[in-house]
Assembly symmetry: C2
Homo-oligomer: 339 residues x 2
Amino acid sequence: MTTMQDVATRAGVSAKTVSRVFNDDPHVTEDTRQRVQSTMRELKYVPNMLARTFREGKSAVIGIAVPDVADPFFAAITKEIELAAREHDMAIVVTSLGDNPSLEQNIIETTVRRQIGGLIIAPIAADQSYLARWQDSFPIVFIDRTPIKLNADYFVEDDFGGAFEATQHLIAHGHRRIAIVGDSTDVPTTRLRLEGYRAALDDAGLRNDEELVVLGSRNADGAAQACKTLLALPDAPTAIFSSNARFSIGVFPALQALNRTDIALISYGDFPMADVLQPSVSVIDQDPRRVGRVAAERILARLATPAKRFRRKNVLPVRLIERQSCQSVPALSAPVDVP
Amino acid sequence: MTTMQDVATRAGVSAKTVSRVFNDDPHVTEDTRQRVQSTMRELKYVPNMLARTFREGKSAVIGIAVPDVADPFFAAITKEIELAAREHDMAIVVTSLGDNPSLEQNIIETTVRRQIGGLIIAPIAADQSYLARWQDSFPIVFIDRTPIKLNADYFVEDDFGGAFEATQHLIAHGHRRIAIVGDSTDVPTTRLRLEGYRAALDDAGLRNDEELVVLGSRNADGAAQACKTLLALPDAPTAIFSSNARFSIGVFPALQALNRTDIALISYGDFPMADVLQPSVSVIDQDPRRVGRVAAERILARLATPAKRFRRKNVLPVRLIERQSCQSVPALSAPVDVP
DNA sequence: GCAACTCATGTCATCGATGACATGGATTTT
DNA sequence: AAAATCCATGTCATCGATGACATGAGTTGC
């Protein structure tokens, strides 16, 4: 690897002068500039970013930590962050947190040691207080889920509102027995969606039936199982609200396998091919690209103007995309409240 | 940020001794070790990776450059590489190359300046000779597509074989007019798949009809358009071989929109929900996770044993996953060869 | 003609961690 | 007991780029 010193020696100047030429310092004669530049080309000089950023103290890299890079939602976010970062000559290092909350801290700290210039995180654990000590080293932005036991910028979708709207949509289509399938209420996101669901039922004067609330699934398969259980109930639901896209990918095939496409389905979170399935699936669209963009922009803004104050809490609106999966008219199944 | 020197001063030792403690050097008395360790805890010392890797000369980071991180195929690869890298305390920096081949070199070179420890690339341009000068700085592994004008490790899927098998599968189901939809033959991958397709037709004594070869689409929409054009032909195909998953995502809805699910479809490359669509789509599965794993392993192996020789060319087998989309029996459409 | 100034360029120190080598006290060998 | 060895710890230099400051040649002003 050619260093500045190599170029300097060859061109008969000091390393500092090479540095000057490289950084377009005006205090260099045209003559020297030419000579140095041609030597740089000759020796194929390439700056050592590592040395530079080491000296600066922090690297031009944004760390991204999400539950799963391969999940379409997070993949879209990641891509968008990268595009935004690139415009500012920053790169991204990506990390998957997996689904074991107890590993989060370790994984994050390994990432953080690399002197990243900023961190965007969609956490999975129930406590991010460990990040406090890093907060004045670089900006941290939470996405998708709010930070817990930590004060930091965050951009989350309107979980309550989206769930409310989704449930209301089902109700508007005549459904009275509406189930919700989701993961753990340890996840704040899920908790809010559950609340939105309940609020919508309350609003419509419908009874909150605990037997229709099936939380705790860990993945698509678990959700599929939950779905089967629900449909086997004596007084089965006519509609299902899947509280996240990951699960919808399990629920839909399950309905199909049971030949119950008459069951209405709405998914919190769009997913690939949702629009071409039979029936196409209505969803609450979270606009992951927007999430990625605003998160990246916040990081960049915090880096550019550290003193400036920003709004910490940011709730992004979600949007109901109506497709076919809620159009089925529920079979006559008047809620029988007799035990 | 606490440095080793800070810890050293506080503990009344030299920085070097702190370094020794940190790196488990046996030449430290138990007494000193204890003292230094407790001081490290007290001051919350965290090593500066940047300084370390700067000194070492190359960072513990693997660069990944793929056409699109948000594409499920590449997202799966990325995830797998990350998992493998993490086991060796390496991180990944990810970059999307987009679809403009002329930008590839620039994007890659920006990545490469960051003193990465290895590079995994799925190229989009028709010339990677610019990477030659980096080859002895760090290992480079190509995935999905072979390097052009460069000698380097590569792991590609069996494009010819997969396309051959896919086409043969359609033929076995009675199809005689089989179309192929793909992107540009500038992409070696596509060229090979086209060859596989042709070979299968030849093998079966079927005529290669140029009007059924529709290449040059740029994205899913383009593929959908190509599909419409094909079906509008006087002597339309009864089956379509979509030469990549990205396009299948356009072709399937197109068939659906035209109400032509009788047209058989097979996709080179699995895609999300392909198994629950109506009809579910038969695919050639490329096993992206395997690609990611072997590529990462090769990088790590090259780093561990630089002198060792490895097989450069590596073709990974692909697998036909039979679903429903090829089961339709073609309507009687005896190839009319009268002009 | 000399001070004051400008400007190109050089020298040195620095960022943090760590190899190479030095030092000096304790222990073992002959 | 002198010599050889061992071992804990320290000092210094280094990786590459670049700020802070120095130098010295050339220019301007009075």
